[in-house]
Symmetry: C2
Amino acid sequence: MAYPGYGAGPGGVPGQDPLYGYFSAVAGQDGQISADELQRCLTQSGISGSYQPFSLDTCRLMINMLDRDMSGSMGFAEFRDLWQALNGWKNTFASYDRDHSGTVEGHEMQQAITSMGYRLSPQAMNCIMKRYSTNSRITFDDFMSCCIRLRALTDHFRRRDTTQNGSATFQYDDFIQVTMSV
Amino acid sequence: MAYPGYGAGPGGVPGQDPLYGYFSAVAGQDGQISADELQRCLTQSGISGSYQPFSLDTCRLMINMLDRDMSGSMGFAEFRDLWQALNGWKNTFASYDRDHSGTVEGHEMQQAITSMGYRLSPQAMNCIMKRYSTNSRITFDDFMSCCIRLRALTDHFRRRDTTQNGSATFQYDDFIQVTMSV
């Protein structure tokens, strides 16, 4: 009889987790990585595959998406959450980038966003396309940046939508904290 | 007796406005410029001075900040508004970058934001620093990107804060339109 989860319980065992190798190679003694260390770590891990490595700006968004203590850096547990999210989004991107050009079209990005469960108006989709497309196409890095921000902003909104009716009230300072962090 | 405003009324006379030269050189027949054309235009104008030219991402933010019709491009009137804003922010940046390193420190950026009239909590300032600094310093391009987003988000918030009491209610779709466009 197997012991489900034995040796890989919640939180994991760093020494047995292959991801820990990528993480610890850049984390240093404090066990935390900053945006430029994350960029190096992700580049070395090869997660981008044949796509361009992540920009520093996108790496800062990654840290902020998961930075619950606003430390500006990321521990291993957050890194593992990030890894899972990035792989999901990468696979989605790759499924639309059938010709491996490294870009997808605007309508494909809209389909991808819908497939992730977001229900947005054509106006909102249009805002996103205008923000992330260059000559009507979206690069891998911009696609990931969009996914990170959409998830983080939706999470923040949901926490403030206390009655879950799709409406939330913000104080100005809180609004700036939420929107300027990603 | 002079005729105030004669020959340079509201809207200006393109043929007499030196800015129009920069604009028309890239605008083409439709009289509108896209983000990559804006990047070329600003680089050619030399507005960045000795600082690095604006990134494409920052140019997309510039267009979206002023893009009232959500066309994704910019006419000459909007370009002139942008030019004025960029020069103001550049002068602010330069006044803090006393050693001409092309970067300012986090606390200097906080002073700059306060000098622009924003009244933000230490928490909000911290969010902004975490988002825009690299090794505790902020580059010219990131500083401009921050100023553009802070202005656009504050404008959007103010329009929804109908009683001007510092609180605004958003529907989810509207929240995404506002926050994902910049």
